[in-house]
């Protein structure tokens, strides 16, 4: 992928990511998050992870964000009324986030391989679904079964939480 496209998708992702937390309207936030996730999927594909990119679009930009939009619709959330902002808490949160970012930049700056570009691939990545599937059902078979149980537990938990009367 040419560097130009990398920066286009990265800035698209970051701008819409910032729009998620700036927007006052929850629906606009959710739609910005969809665009943010699409940009992220493009970055995954630029790294040769085609399967993960497709999963990102299907699961995140598709299923998860539709779930978010449904909940926003069910709760009938409108644009937030401006409230009195607690400026001490706001400034504190901003300072903590900035400190975290500076710390992260320092770590990346000291990390030697960070200045290297990616080595060329010897094998083709066109069959990465095949490779991931083979790994998933051989080395990672037990975690795969456990994930299945986790999804079942989540399903049952959601049904219990959504019952009209909790006893």
């Amino acid at each position: 992928m040419p560097p130009f496209l990398f920066w286009v998708f990265a800035s698209l992702m970051l701008i819409f990511g910032a729009a998620v937390i700036i927007n006052r309207n929850p629906v606009a936030s959710a739609l910005s998050l969809v665009v943010c996730f699409l940009g992220l999927a493009a970055l995954f594909i630029s790294l040769g992870a085609f399967f993960i990119g497709i999963i990102q679009v299907l699961v995140y930009a598709g299923a998860v964000m539709v779930l978010f939009l449904f909940i926003i619709m069910l709760l009938d959330l409108r644009v937030e009324k401006p409230r009195r902002i607690n400026w001490i808490a706001f400034g504190g949160g901003l300072i903590v986030a900035l400190c975290f970012f500076i710390q992260l930049l320092t770590v990346i700056g000291r990390f030697k391989p960070a200045s290297q570009s990616f080595p060329p691939l010897a094998a083709s990545t066109a069959d990465d679904v095949h490779s991931i599937g083979a790994l998933l059902f051989s080395n990672y078979n037990l975690p795969f079964q456990i994930i299945g149980v986790l999804v079942l537990v989540a399903t049952v938990g959601v049904v219990v939480l959504s019952k009209r009367e909790l006893r």
Binding site: V20, I21, L43, L67, L75, R83, I108, Y140, L161
Partner: protein
């Protein structure tokens, strides 16, 4: 050329935006979306490392991508449960503003 550091920088930037969203916003749904952004930022650096550190046969390291598959599955389950909790909370209190939910505040 795009380096590994560029991907790590973008991933850290996305994580910081999500972190700032969790710290600054007071709407519980927006906080939840910011949490998702932080999870995805971690995913991006994981894929970048999987591409950077090649497997012995010269392809990308697929162990990281299997790990990412698990992360996405767990995140989807987490979203389902979290949104169900938010709906139950809204039914009880008629609010999504975290400052209105302060029963446990010291």
């Amino acid at each position: 050329m795009v380096t590994l550091g560029d991907y790590l920088f973008v991933s850290g930037m996305l994580f910081t935006i999500g972190f700032a969203g969790v710290m600054l916003r007071r709407n519980i749904i927006i906080i939840f979306m910011a949490l998702e952004m932080m999870l995805n930022a971690a995913n991006l650096s994981l894929v970048a490392f999987s591409r950077f550190h090649l497997a012995p046969n010269g392809g990308p390291n697929y162990n990281a991508q299997v790990f990412l598959f698990f992360i996405i599955t767990v995140a989807a389950a987490e979203v389902a449960v979290g949104l169900a909790i938010i709906v139950a909370l809204y039914r009880l209190r008629q609010t999504t503003h975290v400052e209105d939910i302060n029963s446990l505040k010291f």
